[in-house]
Amino acid sequence: MTAPALAQERAEAVDDVILRAEQVTKIYPGTVALDRVDFNVYRGKVNVLVGENGAGKSTLMKILAGVEQPTEGHLTLEGRPIHPKSPREAEALGIGIIYQELNLFPNLSVAENIFMAHELTTGGAIIQHREQEERTRALLARLEQPIDPRTLVQYLRIGQQQIVEIAKALALDVKILIMDEPTSALSTTEVEGLFRVIEELTASGVSIIYISHKLEELMQIGDYITVLRDGRKVAEAPMHAVDLSWIIERMVGRDTAASYRPPQHPIDGELLRVENITLPKQGGGYLLHNVSFTLRAGEVLGIYGLMGAGRTELFECLMGLHPLAQGEVWLDGRRLTGGIDRRIKQGIMLIPEDRQREGLVPELSVADNMLLASLRNYLQGFFLSRSKEMASINRLVRELAIKVSNVQNLISSLSGGNQQKVVVAKTLLTSPKVLLMDEPTRGIDVGAKEEIFEIMRRLAAQGLGIIFVSTELKEIMAMADRILVMSKGVITRELDRESATQQALVEASAIGHELVRKDVSGNGGS
């Protein structure tokens, strides 16, 4: 832990709150995303916001940035109430945001990106390219980045693109800058560069709101920390007063509603063996490097890791989606070969992370979505047999307790949890021996999560091997019989039930992310 002692003294002396959210509540149909949250943004400081997925961080940021309006509660900026109704209004008030996904136009130049929709013009019609480029150059110089303003953004590295995003916010003269997971795609050196920029910004009076899952990184850059959990603020403290275990405890909570239950069934012998999976990254380096592990029948294997750790890529390699991947996968003593369609037949199946983009076909009915991966099973001669189809559909609707009034309705008419169950049903109809579940509880409510967990336990009891990926510590701790931690494309640690602690997971997930320069501003460490 590195608590900036000098910053602490300064903080106590002069820190004041520039932006204050008071009792902010945001209700979406069916869920309370934020429940009477107070949030203080200290002037000229790095205000860190942490919480697990679904804790309400993004919603709170959207409210501050004018994208969403609070259902209740209010915001005050420098003591005056504000009600930003759009991102433009928030910008006019001096609040800028950099989203997790970069919002840049790769086909336009750096300068054109920075002045997009705020073009400097002559008479409102003709863009003053030279003037824009000059100002862009000045902004980039301030950020210590010698990027040519006329370069197309697509030719910049991700880290440089991030800098362009920051420059875009600075061009609007922001007083408060929100950064949502700015380092998830950056290399270590790029992170260091970003941190220097953040220090300069705070030194010049800009207040930063900083969201990240990388706890060690937060502790280094942050001045204040606010923890959200399940839509509520659970703690706020100066960073120097807290340590890693304090943060984890506040984030995850002590409630053990979903606590680990040791399997009641025997865990059999080796089912899947993964040997030296390596996936090269475009432009050098590796997305996955020599990943090897085994999975036993009846076992639930959890994979924990931050964004960019290579979890999704690993699953894709197992399914044969990356022709460039090296390494071998053995299932039941037979080597898996071919593309995804052949591997599914060989007994491995994936539940993808993004249900909408990768799991479901929105134009099709519940029934057709469910049957999509196993259509050959329902053939009678050349044609699909309705009775065979319905037998399978009815069995899974019953087994997974899918709430659907009519399976011929469009899939989009179901709730998120039931949609996810349809995806699970689709995979089960392929009769897999190994099931890969990528964030299986993403975006579904608590009750549905518990049901998905129950289904996982039942499948494991039937002898399936399950590998599931999660970014939520609590989920991993509750479900996995064994845990692998990944970071930067390698397995950094393997933990069995007894030795797995939340802290151990977090530490292992940060291996490879350590910054060389621990303290940049000259403040003393603790």
Partner: protein, 355 residues
Amino acid sequence: MAEVNVQTTADSSPLSQLRRGRLTLRGMLLQLRAFIALILLYAFFAIVSDAFMTQNNQVILAKQVAINAVLGIGMTFVILTGGIDLSVGSIVGLTGMVTGMLIHRGLILTPLDRVVYFNVWIIGLIAIGVGMFIGLINGILVTRFRVAPFIATLGTLYMARGLALLSNNGATFPNLIGKPELGNTGFPELGRGTLLGLPYSIWIMVALGLLATFITRKTPFGRQVYAIGGNQRAAQLSGVRVKTVTMMTYVISGFCAAVVGLIISSQLIAAHPATGDGFELNAIAAVVLGGTSLAGGRGTILGTIVGAFVVGVLRNGMVIEGVSSFWQMIITGGVIVLAVIIDQAQQRIQERSAV
């Protein structure tokens, strides 16, 4: 018509949905709009024109419709995957020329210094093979080389037309009756013959329409076509062989175009290299009027056939009424745009009722 892919059961028909209150009357009228438009058009021309309802004109109309409908059936498969096939008009021309050439000159085997003449059945199969081969090239360009369907089929549009022109130096193969001594007579029968008083081309349309409806609704291939158009990534992750299935749709489209090429050259008893010019646009119009989404994943074969009837009746009626061909184009264009506007409105209503 998003639920079209659903099996035909009592519960998924618009009527029973109406009963359950899931669809408003307005929604149902919107769903059946192509049918309703067709009936209104028919009634209109039947009233204002004496010549429209004559048996003679109805046969002419049906022949025109069959051409567009058969092309549209193939096109529907391609569009359901989210693609487009601009080459069908040229395939019509090329397959006609292949037929003409084989009847007139036979197949010249240069190395053996021999000329082989086939009977008309074989010639028909060869012409269909040529159409499917062009479709296969389209499919390979789109799936293996990742050329955008619009561009890939635009390229084959030009190439197939060029081949058609090249085959006889831009000239027509006239008088495709064949010679008894060469054993290749009988080709005009396809265009001239009737069954139960209806020309063969109508029966071909009906047969292909039924077959295609079965394929789209009752085979894994058909389901997978819808899935690819709806969400290609989800289809891939479900083990659908996206490339193979997509490629097949272009082969089907090429097949349908070749069938049309045979029908037309048989009806004219001649093969002209410019035949089929612009047919691709009529076929696309039929598909779109039938409620198929150009984005893929949504549409039916029956809708396309109804769409082909709408285009056909509109044009035939206007010709009979002596509407200038310039106004015909303006009106046809307006109808297509109107159909898409209504389609969008229906989508919004359906999305609202789905929530």
